[in-house]
C-alpha cells in the first residue's frame, strides 16, 4: 500500500478533533447527575464519536490516494512474440500483380495494404496467446506499438496503416526498429519478426552487420513476405541470370543477405491475397512454442473506497442529526 500524496497524512491528527471539541449545540441541563445511567445512550454517544473520527480518517486517507503497486504475474502461453514490420510505401496501395495465378479471382482490385491489413487482423485474432508489436516503415521506421498482449491495440494499429504514404522503402531501418522491440523484453523462447513488403531496398554494410548481430543476439527468426510487384522478378526464380556488369536486383540481394543470418529465416512470395493467406498460415503453424511472459497488473486505487466509507459515515451522522431533539427548551 502506497500513497500518491503521503504528505496529506500529516493531517490525520485532525481526526481526533471530534473527541476534543464539545458539541456546541448541547442543551444545558440543570443537574446531569440526576439523569440515570443509560447504557444504550452511552453506546450511541461512543459510536457517534467513533463515526466522526472515522469519517475524518477516511476523508484524509482518501485524499492521500492510497493504492497498491502494480504487480507482475508470470504467465505461460503458447505462441510467440511477434513483431510485425509492415511496408507503408506508396506502392502498397496498388493492387496485387496477380500475374502468375491468373486474373480471374474474386479479390482482384483489393490493394495490397488493405489485403495485408485484413489478413494480419485475422492472423492476430487467431493467435490469442501471442504478444504482438508493430513497426511500419517507408522512408524510415515508425514506431507504432511495443510488444504487448493487448489484441485490441494491435488490431487498431493494423487498421490504421492505411492512408497516404511516401515512396521510399527503407527496409534496414524497419528491421532494426523491429528487432529493437525485442530488446529488454524477457525472451519467451519463440520470437519472430514478420517483414511484409513489396519489393526491397538496399542496405549498406553497416546496417547489414547490425541486423545480423541483433537478430543473432535476440534470437529472432525472420519471415519475409514479399508482395510481388507486377512484372517484378521472383526471388525464387532459379533460372534468373543477372546481366553482365549490372548489380543484382534488390530483392535477390536482400534474399541472399537474409540467408546468411544465423537465426532461422523463411521467405514467402505472395501474388494475391490467397497466397498471402497461405504464407500467414505457414507462419502460424511454425510459431507454436510455449512462451513465458510477465503480465503487468495495474495497482488498485483505494481512494474511492475511502470516500464511499466516509460518505456512508456522513450519511449515518446526518441520519442521527435527523433524530436529534429539536423541541426541547
Amino acid at each position: 500500500m502506497v500513497f500518491s500524496h503521503p504528505w496529506l497524512l500529516w493531517l490525520l491528527p485532525l481526526a481526533i478533533l471530534p473527541l476534543l471539541l464539545q458539541r456546541t449545540h448541547a442543551k444545558h441541563y440543570s443537574w446531569v447527575d440526576m439523569l440515570p445511567a443509560d447504557s444504550l445512550s452511552d453506546l450511541i454517544s461512543l459510536l457517534l464519536k467513533v463515526f466522526a473520527v472515522l469519517t475524518l480518517v477516511f476523508i484524509i486517507t482518501g485524499l492521500a490516494a492510497p493504492h497498491t503497486k502494480e504487480q507482475k504475474i508470470e504467465r505461460i502461453g503458447v505462441g510467440a512474440q511477434i513483431a510485425l514490420v509492415l511496408d507503408r510505401s506508396a506502392s502498397m496501395d496498388d493492387p496485387f500483380s496477380g500475374g502468375s495465378s491468373g486474373a480471374g479471382n474474386s479479390t482482384v482490385g483489393e490493394t495490397k495494404s488493405v489485403a495485408a491489413a485484413r489478413l494480419i487482423t485475422d492472423f492476430v485474432k487467431s493467435r490469442q496467446q501471442d504478444m504482438f508489436g508493430m513497426i511500419t516503415f517507408s522512408n524510415s521506421a515508425m514506431y507504432v506499438l511495443p510488444l504487448s498482449e493487448n489484441k485490441k491495440a494491435i488490431i487498431a494499429a493494423v487498421q490504421a496503416t492505411g492512408g497516404n504514404a511516401l515512396f521510399q522503402t527503407n527496409i534496414g531501418s524497419g528491421l532494426t526498429s523491429g528487432a529493437g522491440l525485442f530488446d529488454k523484453i524477457p525472451d519467451s523462447g519463440s520470437r519472430a519478426l514478420i517483414l511484409l513488403s513489396d519489393g526491397a531496398g538496399r542496405m549498406d554494410a553497416n546496417t547489414q552487420q547490425k541486423i545480423k548481430d541483433w537478430f543473432d543476439r535476440l534470437h529472432i527468426s525472420l519471415y519475409w513476405i514479399v508482395l510481388r510487384q507486377p512484372g517484378g522478378l521472383s526471388i525464387f526464380d532459379t533460372k534468373y541470370v543477372r546481366p553482365e556488369d549490372a548489380a543484382l536486383p534488390a530483392e535477390v540481394e536482400l534474399n541472399d543477405f537474409f540467408k546468411t543470418l544465423k537465426s532461422p529465416f523463411k521467405a514467402y512470395e505472395a501474388e494475391d491475397p490467397k497466397s498471402l493467406q497461405l504464407a500467414m498460415n505457414d507462419i502460424n503453424n511454425r510459431e507454436k512454442k510455449p512462451i513465458k511472459y510477465l503480465e503487468k497488473i495495474p495497482g488498485r486505487d483505494y481512494s474511492d473506497f475511502c470516500f464511499v466509507i466516509a460518505a456512508l459515515m456522513i450519511s449515518l451522522l446526518l441520519g442521527v442529526k435527523y433524530l436529534e431533539v429539536k423541541t426541547w427548551h
Binding site: 443537574w31 440526576m34 443509560d38 457517534l48 433524530l323 436529534e324
Partner: protein, 286 residues
Amino acid sequence: MIEDIKSFSYHVGWRSRGRHPGRHASTQRGMGMEFRGHTTLLSYPDPRRIDIRQTIRDPLEQVYVRLFNQKSATPVYVICDLSGSMNFGAKKRKIKLAAEIAESIAQSARQHHDPFGFIGFDEVVREDWISTSSFKSYRAIAMAEALKDFHPAPVNCNGITEVYRYLPRERSLVFLISDFHIPNTLLEESLSNLLRHHIVPIVLWDSAEYKDLPDFGLTNVSDAETGEQRTLFLRKELREKIIASFEKRRNEIYELFMRFDMPPFYVEGEFDADLLTEYFHQFVAA
C-alpha cells in the same frame, strides 16, 4: 410596579426578640395587648399602667403596674441560589421565578412591617447580590427586578455553607430559594448551621427537567454547573427512568428537610402567593 406584586400572609410560631414594633408575638415588654404579669411602679415607672385592683389587694400597699408584651418585627430574609442550574427553565428560567418569589416575599414583609434582606450565593456568597435588612423594601425589590435578567455563570452552589455568617444573630424567618440540586452532605451541613433560624425551603423544579421531556430522539446535554457532557437517547424507557429518579430525589430532600423540621414548599413552573399563605396556615402554629 410594587403594587402589582402579589403578597401572602405569614406568621411565625415563636416569639420574636426584636425591639422594633411589628406584628409578631414578642418577648419585648411594651405597649402591646399581651398581658405578661405585674410589677411595682418603682421598677416599671409607667403610671398609665397602674393596676388599681392589684394595688389595693396588696397588704404591703405597694403600687403595681401591669406589664404587657409588645408585638415586634421579625427580620425576613431571602437566601437565593444563583448557581448555574438556576439558569435552567423551559418557559421561565428558575432565576426569574426565584426573583418573582423574592419580590413577593419583600412585598409581604413590607406589609407586615418586617425588615427584609436578600442574600445571593453561588460558589461563594455573592456580596454584589446582598441587600441588607431594611424596613424599606424598595431596594430589595429593585435588586430582585435586576435579578430577573441575571444569567448565572456555570458555577456550583458551595456558597450555601457560608450563608449563615451573613444572617443576624436573632432568629429570623428565612426563605431558602433553590432547586436543591445539591449533594445531600453539603445541604445537610449548611442546614445544620442555619438551625437558629426559621427556614422555609422553596424548591424550584421545572417540569422540562423530568416530566416534559421530548418523546423520542437523541440529544446532548451538558451540566449547567460542571459542564459535564452526556448523550441521551430519549425514549419511553429512559423517560420513565428519569421521572423515577426525580421522584426519588423529591422524597430524599423531603425526608432530609423534615429531619430538620423544615417542611419544603414546591414551586413548579408558576409561583402562586396564595399557596404560600396556605403553607403557613398548614405548617406553622400561630
